[in-house]
């Protein structure tokens, strides 16, 4: 009788200890009220904040039930994770074999200690039982809410939400409640593609070199026609840097074998990884030697995504330099528009057929005269655009022109431009040129020819060479010859 009393007293003291520990734990975690006693040790264990506490509490509670020897063994293996797990499992078996109500409850509590967030299946023998125990337990409202909240975190761990956590489930629960761990599921589906907020992207600062093209200090109020320029007003615009120069050099050399001298001049100004600024250049050559194409390909190859193409042949006045602000529909100069369009400080302005524009000295002004101030670095750096009435820094804008005949250009342009001759292709360039034409056709004209084009055979090349020689060495003619050859090949192909 006396021994029974003492064991009961011991058990009561064990529960008191548990409550004290929980109270301390609570005090550490924000000093909330100690939980009122609830019958089930497993539910009490949910409130504990770390594995060691849980182990200590449970050990004390079950010492009398599992016997001295097993309790001592549990303490002995402490520190060795694997051994503790094995011992805990044996303890659970032993407790279940006792067949009493308390032992069963303790067994459930002990099996909670064996759960690890990194191994979600380990939870399956615990969670349904715990949930059932909680549903059956009659807790007071506050405590019930708290315990359910914590059990939900255990369930989430059982669903695999915290598989990357190395901590114990008790510590993870505290961390989740404190908001330290966001739900980071390994099984979470990949987020669908989110469209880029372009406006926001423009607002973020550019990490590379940049330049304010249109400082507000030197600008006046924009009128209605120039509203779009508000976007680059007093804004740092990125300077595009040259990239992949070696590769570009090699590729363009293959594509334009006849223009290797012009290419080497164009590449001479560039340094890998530095902002692109080209000396103003005129590519002069006979019609159809691939100048325009060369410029386009070169710009794309070195990383200039934005080139403002301006056709000089249709330019009959000086609108290149912008129209006066006082006019009813005023327009900014072409380089300023190129900057605005590209949102970069160093776009490429490509003036095609500059020798075809209206001669300087015409009544309406001329491209040739209005072009002059942009070519000199000194003046371009403080160019006052007459339409914006703002001082712009346009000294990083690059100009490339093509021309068939540079002798018609006034001397101030010939002085400002570097003139590079692009020779007409020769017969030796035919194989490479024909191949690059075919490549471009495949790339640009869709899949009409895709997969159908074998390299040209020597006899085909010989026929093409004869035709090309007769037509004069123009790339436009060669394009037609290549097309005709492919069509002829298609027509003569053996079909089954």
């Amino acid at each position: 009788m006396a021994s029974k009393d003492s064991s009961r007293a011991k058990k009561r003291s064990g529960t008191a200890d548990l409550l004290r520990l929980i109270a301390e734990d609570r005090a550490e975690n924000g000093g909330r009220r100690p939980p009122p006693p609830s019958g089930h040790p497993a539910l009490n264990l949910l409130l504990v904040g770390c594995w060691d506490d849980a182990f200590g509490v449970l050990h004390q509670l079950s010492e009398s039930v599992i016997g001295e020897a097993r309790a001592q063994r549990l303490l002995d293996v402490c520190g060795d994770r694997q051994a503790v797990q094995v011992e805990i499992r044996e303890t659970v078996d032993a407790l279940y074999s006792l067949g009493t109500h308390d032992a069963g409850a303790l067994a459930l509590a002990w099996s909670m200690l064996a759960c690890r967030p990194s191994y979600p299946p380990g939870f399956r023998a615990v969670l349904p039982q715990l949930q059932y125990a909680l549903d059956a337990a009659d807790l007071d409202a506050d405590l019930d809410v708290d315990v359910r909240e914590r059990l939900r975190i255990w369930w989430a761990a059982g669903a695999g939400d915290y598989v990357r956590e190395k901590r114990s489930m008790f510590a993870v629960t505290v961390a989740v409640l404190a908001g330290e761990i966001e739900k980071e599921s390994a099984l979470e589906p990949v987020k669908p593609f989110e469209p880029v907020d372009v406006a926001k992207w423009f607002r973020t600062p550019y990490p590379g070199p940049s330049l304010t093209v249109m400082p507000a200090a030197k600008a006046t109020r924009l009128n209605n026609h120039n509203k779009p320029f508000a976007e680059i007003l007093d804004k740092e615009l990125p300077l595009v840097c040259a990239r992949n120069l070696d590769q570009a050099r090699k590729r363009l050399g293959h594509e334009f074998p006849h223009a290797s001298a012009a290419l080497s001049v164009l590449f001479k100004d560039l340094r890998e990884g530095e902002p692109i600024k080209l000396r103003a250049t005129i590519l002069s050559g006979s019609p159809g030697c691939g100048k325009s194409r060369l410029v386009r390909k070169w710009a794309a190859a070195v990383g200039l995504q934005h080139q403002y193409r301006y056709d000089a042949a249709t330019s009959a006045d000086g609108q290149f330099g912008g129209t006066s602000k006082g006019w009813s529909n005023t327009e900014a100069s072409v380089p300023a528009r190129a900057v605005l369009q590209s949102r970069t400080a160093n776009p490429l302005v490509f003036i095609d057929e500059i020798d075809k524009c209206t001669r300087a000295g015409s009544q309406n002004g001329s491209l040739m005269t209005s072009l002059a101030p942009f070519l000199e670095r000194e003046t371009a750096a403080r160019y006052r655009d007459q339409s914006l009435d703002a001082e712009l820094r346009l000294d990083w804008v690059s100009f490339i022109c093509t021309a068939n005949d540079v002798t018609v250009l006034p001397d101030y342009l010939r002085d400002r431009f570097r003139i590079v001759r692009v020779p007409a292709p020769q017969l030796v360039d035919l194989p490479l040129l024909a191949a690059s034409i075919v490549d471009d056709m495949l790339l640009e004209e869709g899949d009409e020819w895709a997969g159908a084009v074998a390299p040209f055979a020597p006899d085909e090349l010989r026929v093409m060479a004869k035709a090309w020689e007769r037509a004069g060495f123009s790339l436009r003619k060669l394009q037609k010859i290549v097309l005709a050859t492919l069509e002829a090949r298609d027509a003569c192909q053996m079909r089954h």
Binding site: A103, A105, A125, R152
Partner: protein, 107 residues
């Protein structure tokens, strides 16, 4: 065949399991078996439930070998021998292995 006392049955069974008992041999023989089973924790709103999936055997409502998914499990045996849902006891056969069989390797 009505079973209006299923709640009491469930409570009695869970009580017995928590006392360390196992289903009786008669119940075991009578219960449907789930072969090739896996467990899965599913969300129901804020709450969760554990279900077992696998191929049924000896199930009164399904053909043998049919893929089934149980209702919420209220007791899952710690050694994976049986699982008790609200209305039914399931015996668990082989657990589904995640390893790739040798002849399943595509070389």
């Amino acid at each position: 065949m009505s079973n209006s006392g299923w709640k009491q049955d469930l409570a009695r069974d869970l009580e017995a399991y928590s006392l360390g008992e196992e289903p009786s041999p008669f119940e075991m023989l009578r219960a449907p078996v789930i072969e090739n089973w896996t467990t899965e924790v599913r969300r129901i709103g804020k709450e969760f439930k554990l279900v077992v999936r696998g191929q049924a055997k000896r199930h009164p409502d399904y053909d043998d070998g049919e893929d089934i998914r149980t209702a919420a499990i209220h007791w899952f045996d710690r050694k994976g021998r049986f699982a008790r849902s609200a209305h039914r006891l399931y015996m668990l056969g082989e657990q589904r292995g995640d390893e790739i069989p040798i002849d399943g390797v595509d070389l």
